[in-house]
Amino acid sequence: MKILVAVKRVIDYNVKIRVKADHSDVDLTNVKMAMNPFCEIAVEEAVRLKEKGTATEVVAVSIGPKAAQEQLRTALALGADRALHIETDERVESLAVAKLLAKVVEEEQPELVILGKQAIDTDNNQTGQMLAALANMPQGTFASEVVVEGDKVNVTREIDGGLQTVALTLPAIVTTDLRLNEPRYAKLPDIMKAKKKPLESKAPADYGVEVASRVSLVKVETPAERKGGVKVASVDELIDKLKNEAKVL
Protein backbone atom coordinates (compact mmCIF):
# COMPACT_ATOMS: atom_id res chain seq x y z
CA MET A 1 0.00 0.00 0.00
CA LYS A 2 0.94 3.60 -0.48
CA ILE A 3 1.04 5.85 2.60
CA LEU A 4 0.81 9.62 2.51
CA VAL A 5 2.24 11.50 5.49
CA ALA A 6 1.62 15.20 6.08
CA VAL A 7 4.27 17.15 8.00
CA LYS A 8 4.34 20.72 9.27
CA ARG A 9 7.19 23.11 9.96
CA VAL A 10 6.63 24.76 13.33
CA ILE A 11 8.57 26.59 16.01
CA ASP A 12 10.75 24.14 17.99
CA TYR A 13 8.92 22.91 21.08
CA ASN A 14 11.69 24.12 23.41
CA VAL A 15 11.56 27.73 22.26
CA LYS A 16 9.98 30.37 24.48
CA ILE A 17 7.76 32.30 22.10
CA ARG A 18 7.48 36.08 21.92
CA VAL A 19 4.36 37.99 20.97
CA LYS A 20 5.07 40.87 18.55
CA ALA A 21 4.90 44.35 20.08
CA ASP A 22 1.97 45.30 17.81
CA HIS A 23 0.04 42.19 18.92
CA SER A 24 -0.39 41.07 15.31
CA ASP A 25 1.05 37.59 15.86
CA VAL A 26 3.87 35.60 17.42
CA ASP A 27 7.34 36.70 16.31
CA LEU A 28 8.97 33.95 14.24
CA THR A 29 12.03 35.85 12.99
CA ASN A 30 15.31 34.08 13.80
CA VAL A 31 13.52 31.43 15.82
CA LYS A 32 14.54 27.76 15.67
CA MET A 33 12.06 25.78 13.60
CA ALA A 34 11.55 22.02 13.46
CA MET A 35 9.17 19.32 12.36
CA ASN A 36 6.02 19.28 14.52
CA PRO A 37 6.53 16.48 17.12
CA PHE A 38 3.24 14.76 16.26
CA CYS A 39 4.25 14.76 12.56
CA GLU A 40 7.55 13.03 13.49
CA ILE A 41 5.47 10.27 15.04
CA ALA A 42 3.40 10.06 11.84
CA VAL A 43 6.53 9.68 9.70
CA GLU A 44 7.93 7.04 12.06
CA GLU A 45 4.70 5.03 11.91
CA ALA A 46 4.65 5.12 8.10
CA VAL A 47 8.30 4.04 7.93
CA ARG A 48 7.65 1.19 10.38
CA LEU A 49 4.72 -0.01 8.24
CA LYS A 50 7.11 -0.02 5.28
CA GLU A 51 9.75 -1.94 7.22
CA LYS A 52 7.08 -4.52 8.13
CA GLY A 53 6.27 -4.94 4.44
CA THR A 54 2.77 -3.50 4.82
CA ALA A 55 3.55 -0.33 2.92
CA THR A 56 5.37 -0.19 -0.39
CA GLU A 57 5.82 3.56 -0.68
CA VAL A 58 5.80 6.48 1.75
CA VAL A 59 5.14 9.95 0.33
CA ALA A 60 5.68 12.99 2.56
CA VAL A 61 3.84 16.24 1.88
CA SER A 62 4.16 19.67 3.45
CA ILE A 63 2.37 22.95 2.82
CA GLY A 64 4.14 26.17 3.69
CA PRO A 65 7.06 28.48 2.88
CA LYS A 66 10.12 27.44 0.89
CA ALA A 67 11.92 26.58 4.13
CA ALA A 68 9.42 23.76 4.81
CA GLN A 69 11.55 21.74 2.37
CA GLU A 70 13.98 21.24 5.28
CA GLN A 71 11.30 19.29 7.15
CA LEU A 72 10.52 17.27 4.01
CA ARG A 73 14.25 16.41 3.72
CA THR A 74 14.09 15.30 7.36
CA ALA A 75 11.13 13.04 6.51
CA LEU A 76 13.12 11.63 3.58
CA ALA A 77 16.13 11.01 5.85
CA LEU A 78 13.85 9.16 8.26
CA GLY A 79 12.73 6.82 5.48
CA ALA A 80 10.08 8.46 3.27
CA ASP A 81 10.58 7.65 -0.43
CA ARG A 82 9.66 10.97 -2.00
CA ALA A 83 8.28 14.34 -1.06
CA LEU A 84 5.80 16.91 -2.30
CA HIS A 85 6.03 20.55 -1.28
CA ILE A 86 3.08 22.89 -1.82
CA GLU A 87 4.69 26.27 -1.49
CA THR A 88 2.87 29.28 -0.06
CA ASP A 89 3.81 32.13 2.26
CA GLU A 90 0.21 32.67 3.37
CA ARG A 91 -1.15 31.70 6.78
CA VAL A 92 -2.94 28.54 5.69
CA GLU A 93 -5.60 27.39 8.11
CA SER A 94 -6.72 23.81 8.70
CA LEU A 95 -9.62 23.84 6.24
CA ALA A 96 -7.41 25.04 3.36
CA VAL A 97 -4.69 22.52 4.30
CA ALA A 98 -7.33 19.79 4.29
CA LYS A 99 -8.60 20.93 0.88
CA LEU A 100 -5.08 20.84 -0.57
CA LEU A 101 -4.38 17.45 0.99
CA ALA A 102 -7.69 16.15 -0.39
CA LYS A 103 -6.45 17.05 -3.89
CA VAL A 104 -3.16 15.29 -3.23
CA VAL A 105 -5.08 12.25 -1.98
CA GLU A 106 -7.15 12.28 -5.18
CA GLU A 107 -3.97 12.39 -7.25
CA GLU A 108 -1.84 9.94 -5.28
CA GLN A 109 -4.61 7.51 -4.20
CA PRO A 110 -2.91 6.43 -0.95
CA GLU A 111 -4.61 3.71 1.09
CA LEU A 112 -3.57 5.29 4.35
CA VAL A 113 -2.93 8.93 5.25
CA ILE A 114 -1.14 9.61 8.53
CA LEU A 115 -1.04 13.04 10.15
CA GLY A 116 -0.14 14.33 13.60
CA LYS A 117 -3.14 14.91 15.86
CA GLN A 118 -2.26 18.60 16.20
CA ALA A 119 0.40 21.16 15.38
CA ILE A 120 2.04 22.68 18.45
CA ASP A 121 1.75 26.24 17.07
CA THR A 122 -1.94 26.68 16.23
CA ASP A 123 -3.05 23.78 18.49
CA ASN A 124 -6.12 23.25 16.31
CA ASN A 125 -6.41 19.46 16.12
CA GLN A 126 -8.57 19.66 12.98
CA THR A 127 -6.73 18.88 9.76
CA GLY A 128 -6.94 15.07 9.81
CA GLN A 129 -10.64 15.10 10.62
CA MET A 130 -11.34 17.70 7.92
CA LEU A 131 -9.34 15.74 5.36
CA ALA A 132 -11.30 12.59 6.26
CA ALA A 133 -14.55 14.50 5.66
CA LEU A 134 -13.44 15.97 2.33
CA ALA A 135 -11.94 12.71 1.04
CA ASN A 136 -14.99 10.79 2.37
CA MET A 137 -12.79 8.45 4.39
CA PRO A 138 -13.17 7.05 7.90
CA GLN A 139 -10.90 8.50 10.58
CA GLY A 140 -8.89 7.07 13.44
CA THR A 141 -7.84 10.08 15.48
CA PHE A 142 -5.40 10.22 18.44
CA ALA A 143 -4.01 6.80 17.57
CA SER A 144 -1.81 4.89 20.00
CA GLU A 145 -1.78 1.70 17.92
CA VAL A 146 -2.30 1.07 14.20
CA VAL A 147 -2.70 -2.46 12.82
CA VAL A 148 -3.39 -3.02 9.12
CA GLU A 149 -5.31 -6.23 8.41
CA GLY A 150 -6.42 -6.91 4.84
CA ASP A 151 -8.74 -4.15 3.69
CA LYS A 152 -9.14 -2.76 7.21
CA VAL A 153 -7.05 -0.85 9.70
CA ASN A 154 -7.62 -1.29 13.42
CA VAL A 155 -6.86 1.91 15.26
CA THR A 156 -6.62 2.10 19.05
CA ARG A 157 -7.49 5.65 20.07
CA GLU A 158 -6.64 7.62 23.20
CA ILE A 159 -9.99 8.87 24.47
CA ASP A 160 -10.86 10.68 27.70
CA GLY A 161 -10.79 7.98 30.35
CA GLY A 162 -9.08 5.23 28.40
CA LEU A 163 -8.68 3.59 25.02
CA GLN A 164 -11.10 2.80 22.19
CA THR A 165 -10.43 0.54 19.23
CA VAL A 166 -12.18 1.07 15.91
CA ALA A 167 -11.93 -0.88 12.64
CA LEU A 168 -11.82 1.38 9.60
CA THR A 169 -12.31 0.35 5.99
CA LEU A 170 -9.34 1.40 3.86
CA PRO A 171 -8.56 3.93 2.53
CA ALA A 172 -8.54 5.74 5.88
CA ILE A 173 -7.07 8.67 7.79
CA VAL A 174 -5.07 8.22 10.99
CA THR A 175 -3.86 10.99 13.31
CA THR A 176 -1.09 10.20 15.78
CA ASP A 177 -1.01 10.57 19.53
CA LEU A 178 2.18 10.77 21.54
CA ARG A 179 1.99 7.17 22.67
CA LEU A 180 1.98 5.67 19.14
CA ASN A 181 5.76 5.27 18.85
CA GLU A 182 9.14 6.76 19.58
CA PRO A 183 10.55 8.46 16.50
CA ARG A 184 14.09 7.52 15.45
CA TYR A 185 16.89 9.98 14.78
CA ALA A 186 18.13 10.43 11.23
CA LYS A 187 21.68 9.12 10.74
CA LEU A 188 24.22 11.11 8.78
CA PRO A 189 24.38 8.69 5.80
CA ASP A 190 20.57 8.79 5.59
CA ILE A 191 20.62 12.59 5.67
CA MET A 192 23.11 12.52 2.77
CA LYS A 193 20.99 10.02 0.84
CA ALA A 194 17.85 12.09 1.46
CA LYS A 195 19.37 14.92 -0.58
CA LYS A 196 19.12 12.73 -3.67
CA LYS A 197 15.53 11.62 -3.10
CA PRO A 198 12.86 13.28 -5.28
CA LEU A 199 11.18 16.42 -3.94
CA GLU A 200 8.53 17.95 -6.17
CA SER A 201 7.34 21.52 -5.64
CA LYS A 202 3.90 22.88 -6.50
CA ALA A 203 1.66 25.83 -5.64
CA PRO A 204 -1.88 25.91 -4.18
CA ALA A 205 -3.06 27.35 -7.51
CA ASP A 206 -1.95 24.12 -9.25
CA TYR A 207 -4.72 22.42 -7.28
CA GLY A 208 -7.24 25.23 -7.75
CA VAL A 209 -7.48 25.74 -4.00
CA GLU A 210 -7.98 29.21 -2.53
CA VAL A 211 -5.98 29.47 0.71
CA ALA A 212 -7.37 32.81 1.94
CA SER A 213 -8.91 32.41 5.38
CA ARG A 214 -12.40 33.28 6.61
CA VAL A 215 -11.15 33.40 10.16
CA SER A 216 -9.05 36.48 10.82
CA LEU A 217 -6.55 36.95 13.58
CA VAL A 218 -7.66 40.11 15.41
CA LYS A 219 -4.85 40.15 17.96
CA VAL A 220 -2.39 37.99 19.83
CA GLU A 221 -1.59 38.65 23.47
CA THR A 222 0.66 37.25 26.15
CA PRO A 223 -1.33 35.49 28.86
CA ALA A 224 -1.27 36.90 32.37
CA GLU A 225 2.18 36.33 33.87
CA ARG A 226 2.42 34.02 36.82
CA LYS A 227 4.53 35.28 39.68
CA GLY A 228 6.74 33.12 41.80
CA GLY A 229 5.58 32.67 45.38
CA VAL A 230 7.39 31.84 48.57
CA LYS A 231 9.82 29.16 49.63
CA VAL A 232 8.85 27.17 52.68
CA ALA A 233 11.34 25.68 55.09
CA SER A 234 9.72 22.35 55.93
CA VAL A 235 7.09 19.80 54.98
CA ASP A 236 5.02 20.91 57.98
CA GLU A 237 5.02 24.50 56.78
CA LEU A 238 4.07 23.36 53.26
CA ILE A 239 1.10 21.33 54.50
CA ASP A 240 0.03 24.22 56.74
CA LYS A 241 0.15 26.72 53.84
CA LEU A 242 -1.77 24.40 51.52
CA LYS A 243 -4.45 23.82 54.15
CA ASN A 244 -4.85 27.28 55.63
CA GLU A 245 -3.56 29.78 53.07
CA ALA A 246 -4.23 28.22 49.65
CA LYS A 247 -7.07 26.04 50.98
CA VAL A 248 -6.47 23.30 48.41
CA LEU A 249 -6.07 20.39 50.83
Partner: protein, 308 residues
Amino acid sequence: MSILVLADLHEGELAAATAHVVAAAQQIGGDIDVLIAGEGVQAAADAAARLEGVSRVRLADHSVYAHQLAEPLSALIVALADDYTHILSSASTTGKNVLPRVAALKDVSQISEVLAIDSADTFKRPIYAGNAIATVKSDDALKVMTVRTTAFDAVNESGSAAIETVDTVVENAQSQFVKEELAQSDRPELGGARIVISGGRGMGNGDNFKLLDGIADKLGAAVGASRAAVDAGFVPNDMQVGQTGKIVAPDLYIAVGISGAIQHLAGMKDSKVIVAINKDDEAPIFQVADYGLVGDLFELLPELESKL
Protein backbone atom coordinates in the same frame (compact mmCIF):
# COMPACT_ATOMS: atom_id res chain seq x y z
CA MET B 1 -28.91 33.20 16.96
CA SER B 2 -29.62 29.50 17.40
CA ILE B 3 -27.09 27.19 18.94
CA LEU B 4 -26.70 23.43 18.89
CA VAL B 5 -24.63 21.89 21.68
CA LEU B 6 -23.35 18.37 21.11
CA ALA B 7 -23.58 16.67 24.51
CA ASP B 8 -20.71 14.64 25.92
CA LEU B 9 -21.65 11.21 27.17
CA HIS B 10 -19.71 8.99 29.53
CA GLU B 11 -20.84 5.36 29.52
CA GLY B 12 -24.28 6.50 28.35
CA GLU B 13 -24.68 9.17 31.04
CA LEU B 14 -24.55 12.91 30.45
CA ALA B 15 -20.99 14.11 31.18
CA ALA B 16 -20.40 17.16 33.37
CA ALA B 17 -18.69 18.96 30.47
CA THR B 18 -22.03 19.67 28.78
CA ALA B 19 -23.19 22.07 31.54
CA HIS B 20 -20.03 24.12 30.91
CA VAL B 21 -20.64 24.23 27.15
CA VAL B 22 -24.24 25.40 27.70
CA ALA B 23 -22.79 28.22 29.83
CA ALA B 24 -20.58 29.25 26.89
CA ALA B 25 -23.61 29.05 24.58
CA GLN B 26 -25.53 31.39 26.93
CA GLN B 27 -22.78 33.97 26.50
CA ILE B 28 -23.31 33.88 22.73
CA GLY B 29 -27.04 34.32 23.32
CA GLY B 30 -30.02 32.82 21.49
CA ASP B 31 -31.96 29.58 21.57
CA ILE B 32 -29.90 26.64 22.82
CA ASP B 33 -30.63 23.08 21.73
CA VAL B 34 -28.70 20.11 23.08
CA LEU B 35 -28.12 17.05 20.89
CA ILE B 36 -27.95 13.71 22.65
CA ALA B 37 -26.77 11.04 20.22
CA GLY B 38 -26.05 7.49 21.31
CA GLU B 39 -27.69 4.22 22.14
CA GLY B 40 -29.88 3.86 25.25
CA VAL B 41 -29.40 7.49 26.20
CA GLN B 42 -32.89 8.56 27.37
CA ALA B 43 -31.53 9.24 30.88
CA ALA B 44 -28.85 11.52 29.43
CA ALA B 45 -31.55 13.40 27.52
CA ASP B 46 -33.57 13.81 30.73
CA ALA B 47 -30.48 15.16 32.48
CA ALA B 48 -29.77 17.58 29.61
CA ALA B 49 -33.38 18.84 29.75
CA ARG B 50 -32.75 19.96 33.34
CA LEU B 51 -29.81 22.20 32.38
CA GLU B 52 -30.61 25.88 32.79
CA GLY B 53 -30.92 27.81 29.54
CA VAL B 54 -31.64 24.83 27.28
CA SER B 55 -34.67 25.37 24.99
CA ARG B 56 -34.92 21.91 23.53
CA VAL B 57 -33.18 18.54 23.72
CA ARG B 58 -32.91 16.64 20.46
CA LEU B 59 -32.55 12.93 21.08
CA ALA B 60 -31.09 10.55 18.47
CA ASP B 61 -31.18 7.15 20.15
CA HIS B 62 -30.03 4.46 17.75
CA SER B 63 -27.38 1.73 17.60
CA VAL B 64 -25.62 3.54 14.73
CA TYR B 65 -24.72 6.35 17.17
CA ALA B 66 -23.41 4.02 19.89
CA HIS B 67 -19.90 5.00 21.03
CA GLN B 68 -20.30 8.32 19.15
CA LEU B 69 -18.20 7.30 16.15
CA ALA B 70 -17.18 10.33 14.08
CA GLU B 71 -18.56 9.20 10.72
CA PRO B 72 -22.28 8.71 11.57
CA LEU B 73 -22.32 11.41 14.26
CA SER B 74 -20.90 14.10 11.98
CA ALA B 75 -23.38 13.15 9.24
CA LEU B 76 -26.23 13.45 11.76
CA ILE B 77 -25.10 16.91 12.89
CA VAL B 78 -24.74 18.04 9.28
CA ALA B 79 -28.33 16.91 8.67
CA LEU B 80 -29.48 19.18 11.52
CA ALA B 81 -27.04 22.05 10.89
CA ASP B 82 -29.27 24.24 8.71
CA ASP B 83 -31.33 25.16 11.79
CA TYR B 84 -28.33 26.73 13.54
CA THR B 85 -25.85 29.62 13.49
CA HIS B 86 -23.48 28.00 16.01
CA ILE B 87 -22.53 24.40 16.74
CA LEU B 88 -20.62 23.84 20.00
CA SER B 89 -19.15 20.98 21.93
CA SER B 90 -16.62 20.63 24.69
CA ALA B 91 -12.99 20.19 23.65
CA SER B 92 -13.22 16.57 24.78
CA THR B 93 -11.84 13.78 22.63
CA THR B 94 -15.36 13.31 21.22
CA GLY B 95 -15.79 17.00 20.37
CA LYS B 96 -12.32 17.16 18.85
CA ASN B 97 -13.00 14.02 16.84
CA VAL B 98 -16.39 14.99 15.44
CA LEU B 99 -16.65 18.77 15.07
CA PRO B 100 -13.82 19.37 12.56
CA ARG B 101 -15.46 16.74 10.37
CA VAL B 102 -18.78 18.59 10.64
CA ALA B 103 -17.07 21.89 9.80
CA ALA B 104 -15.39 20.52 6.68
CA LEU B 105 -18.64 18.93 5.47
CA LYS B 106 -20.29 22.36 5.85
CA ASP B 107 -17.26 24.05 4.23
CA VAL B 108 -16.56 26.27 7.23
CA SER B 109 -13.59 26.65 9.57
CA GLN B 110 -13.59 25.33 13.10
CA ILE B 111 -12.45 27.24 16.16
CA SER B 112 -10.81 25.05 18.80
CA GLU B 113 -10.65 25.31 22.61
CA VAL B 114 -12.49 28.62 22.98
CA LEU B 115 -11.57 30.31 26.31
CA ALA B 116 -13.73 33.41 26.09
CA ILE B 117 -16.55 34.76 23.96
CA ASP B 118 -16.16 38.42 22.93
CA SER B 119 -19.23 38.42 20.67
CA ALA B 120 -21.22 36.03 18.48
CA ASP B 121 -18.37 35.93 15.95
CA THR B 122 -15.25 36.84 17.96
CA PHE B 123 -13.57 34.44 20.35
CA LYS B 124 -10.39 34.02 22.37
CA ARG B 125 -8.38 30.81 22.19
CA PRO B 126 -4.94 29.64 23.30
CA ILE B 127 -2.17 29.03 20.78
CA TYR B 128 1.39 27.75 21.24
CA ALA B 129 0.23 25.59 24.16
CA GLY B 130 -1.27 28.54 25.97
CA ASN B 131 1.83 30.74 25.68
CA ALA B 132 -0.22 33.20 23.64
CA ILE B 133 -3.91 34.02 23.49
CA ALA B 134 -5.35 34.73 20.05
CA THR B 135 -8.52 36.69 19.41
CA VAL B 136 -10.09 35.38 16.22
CA LYS B 137 -13.07 36.59 14.19
CA SER B 138 -15.00 34.19 12.01
CA ASP B 139 -16.81 35.39 8.88
CA ASP B 140 -18.37 31.98 8.28
CA ALA B 141 -22.19 31.87 8.30
CA LEU B 142 -22.02 28.83 10.58
CA LYS B 143 -19.64 28.90 13.53
CA VAL B 144 -18.39 25.48 14.59
CA MET B 145 -16.36 25.52 17.78
CA THR B 146 -15.09 23.50 20.71
CA VAL B 147 -15.05 25.01 24.19
CA ARG B 148 -12.43 24.62 26.94
CA THR B 149 -14.71 23.63 29.81
CA THR B 150 -12.42 24.88 32.60
CA ALA B 151 -12.95 28.43 31.27
CA PHE B 152 -16.75 28.46 31.81
CA ASP B 153 -18.70 27.75 35.03
CA ALA B 154 -21.33 25.04 34.69
CA VAL B 155 -25.00 26.09 34.49
CA ASN B 156 -27.42 24.93 37.20
CA GLU B 157 -29.93 22.12 36.86
CA SER B 158 -33.11 24.17 37.12
CA GLY B 159 -34.43 23.89 33.58
CA SER B 160 -37.18 21.78 32.03
CA ALA B 161 -36.67 21.69 28.28
CA ALA B 162 -38.79 19.66 25.89
CA ILE B 163 -37.27 16.48 24.50
CA GLU B 164 -37.80 15.88 20.82
CA THR B 165 -36.83 12.71 18.98
CA VAL B 166 -34.64 12.92 15.91
CA ASP B 167 -35.40 10.07 13.50
CA THR B 168 -32.48 10.62 11.15
CA VAL B 169 -30.47 7.42 10.85
CA VAL B 170 -27.15 7.59 9.06
CA GLU B 171 -25.81 4.39 7.53
CA ASN B 172 -22.16 3.78 8.37
CA ALA B 173 -20.18 1.21 6.41
CA GLN B 174 -16.84 2.92 6.98
CA SER B 175 -16.10 2.42 10.64
CA GLN B 176 -16.90 -0.11 13.30
CA PHE B 177 -16.54 -0.08 17.06
CA VAL B 178 -14.31 -2.93 18.25
CA LYS B 179 -13.71 -2.37 21.95
CA GLU B 180 -13.17 0.10 24.72
CA GLU B 181 -10.76 -0.19 27.65
CA LEU B 182 -11.61 2.49 30.16
CA ALA B 183 -9.02 3.04 32.86
CA GLN B 184 -10.21 1.26 36.00
CA SER B 185 -7.78 3.06 38.27
CA ASP B 186 -9.14 4.51 41.50
CA ARG B 187 -7.11 7.57 40.69
CA PRO B 188 -8.79 10.32 38.69
CA GLU B 189 -7.96 10.83 35.05
CA LEU B 190 -4.98 13.20 34.58
CA GLY B 191 -6.85 15.74 32.43
CA GLY B 192 -9.73 16.18 34.89
CA ALA B 193 -8.05 15.65 38.26
CA ARG B 194 -8.41 18.26 41.03
CA ILE B 195 -4.90 17.51 42.29
CA VAL B 196 -1.95 16.33 40.19
CA ILE B 197 1.46 15.22 41.46
CA SER B 198 4.15 14.86 38.81
CA GLY B 199 7.68 13.54 38.79
CA GLY B 200 10.61 14.58 36.62
CA ARG B 201 14.13 13.45 35.84
CA GLY B 202 15.00 14.04 39.50
CA MET B 203 13.01 10.91 40.39
CA GLY B 204 16.05 8.96 39.18
CA ASN B 205 14.21 5.88 37.88
CA GLY B 206 10.77 4.39 37.29
CA ASP B 207 10.65 2.53 40.61
CA ASN B 208 10.97 5.77 42.53
CA PHE B 209 7.66 6.95 41.05
CA LYS B 210 6.12 4.69 43.72
CA LEU B 211 7.07 7.47 46.16
CA LEU B 212 4.42 9.59 44.45
CA ASP B 213 1.73 6.89 44.52
CA GLY B 214 1.19 6.93 48.28
CA ILE B 215 0.81 10.70 48.30
CA ALA B 216 -1.51 10.55 45.27
CA ASP B 217 -3.70 7.97 47.03
CA LYS B 218 -3.96 10.10 50.16
CA LEU B 219 -4.85 13.22 48.15
CA GLY B 220 -7.03 11.56 45.53
CA ALA B 221 -4.60 12.93 42.98
CA ALA B 222 -3.57 11.84 39.48
CA VAL B 223 0.12 11.14 38.79
CA GLY B 224 1.88 12.87 35.91
CA ALA B 225 5.41 13.17 34.58
CA SER B 226 7.63 15.58 32.71
CA ARG B 227 8.87 14.86 29.20
CA ALA B 228 12.35 14.32 30.64
CA ALA B 229 11.01 11.49 32.83
CA VAL B 230 9.16 9.97 29.87
CA ASP B 231 12.14 10.30 27.52
CA ALA B 232 14.37 8.68 30.15
CA GLY B 233 11.97 5.72 30.12
CA PHE B 234 10.89 6.08 33.77
CA VAL B 235 7.15 6.06 32.93
CA PRO B 236 4.92 5.62 29.86
CA ASN B 237 4.24 8.74 27.82
CA ASP B 238 0.49 8.81 28.49
CA MET B 239 1.53 10.29 31.85
CA GLN B 240 3.29 13.20 30.22
CA VAL B 241 2.19 16.69 31.17
CA GLY B 242 3.33 19.38 28.77
CA GLN B 243 2.95 20.91 25.38
CA THR B 244 3.13 17.56 23.59
CA GLY B 245 1.43 15.66 26.39
CA LYS B 246 -1.61 16.52 28.44
CA ILE B 247 -2.56 20.08 29.36
CA VAL B 248 -3.84 20.17 32.94
CA ALA B 249 -5.26 22.95 35.12
CA PRO B 250 -5.93 21.37 38.54
CA ASP B 251 -6.49 23.21 41.82
CA LEU B 252 -3.15 21.91 43.09
CA TYR B 253 -0.15 20.82 41.03
CA ILE B 254 2.85 19.35 42.83
CA ALA B 255 6.02 19.20 40.70
CA VAL B 256 8.66 16.87 42.14
CA GLY B 257 12.18 16.76 40.71
CA ILE B 258 11.03 18.80 37.71
CA SER B 259 13.28 21.66 36.61
CA GLY B 260 10.46 23.51 34.85
CA ALA B 261 11.35 23.57 31.15
CA ILE B 262 9.06 25.69 28.91
CA GLN B 263 7.65 22.52 27.42
CA HIS B 264 6.48 21.33 30.83
CA LEU B 265 5.25 24.71 32.08
CA ALA B 266 3.04 24.93 29.00
CA GLY B 267 1.11 21.95 30.26
CA MET B 268 0.47 23.02 33.86
CA LYS B 269 0.96 26.75 34.36
CA ASP B 270 -2.80 27.43 34.52
CA SER B 271 -3.03 25.34 37.70
CA LYS B 272 -4.50 27.29 40.60
CA VAL B 273 -1.73 26.53 43.09
CA ILE B 274 1.69 25.16 42.12
CA VAL B 275 4.07 23.49 44.57
CA ALA B 276 7.66 22.68 43.59
CA ILE B 277 9.89 20.22 45.41
CA ASN B 278 13.42 20.34 44.07
CA LYS B 279 16.95 20.17 45.44
CA ASP B 280 18.18 22.91 43.06
CA ASP B 281 16.98 26.23 44.44
CA GLU B 282 17.82 27.88 41.10
CA ALA B 283 15.45 25.62 39.12
CA PRO B 284 13.09 27.64 36.85
CA ILE B 285 10.08 25.83 38.36
CA PHE B 286 10.44 28.04 41.46
CA GLN B 287 9.68 31.09 39.29
CA VAL B 288 6.10 29.88 38.81
CA ALA B 289 5.58 27.92 42.02
CA ASP B 290 3.38 29.44 44.73
CA TYR B 291 5.16 27.31 47.32
CA GLY B 292 8.66 25.96 46.89
CA LEU B 293 10.41 23.42 49.06
CA VAL B 294 14.15 23.01 48.50
CA GLY B 295 15.57 19.65 49.47
CA ASP B 296 16.09 16.00 48.69
CA LEU B 297 12.86 14.48 47.38
CA PHE B 298 13.84 11.04 48.73
CA GLU B 299 13.61 12.45 52.25
CA LEU B 300 10.79 14.93 51.69
CA LEU B 301 8.32 12.65 49.88
CA PRO B 302 8.09 9.96 52.62
CA GLU B 303 7.79 12.73 55.20
CA LEU B 304 5.01 14.41 53.21
CA GLU B 305 3.17 11.10 52.80
CA SER B 306 3.34 10.32 56.51
CA LYS B 307 2.10 13.76 57.51
CA LEU B 308 -0.89 14.00 55.17
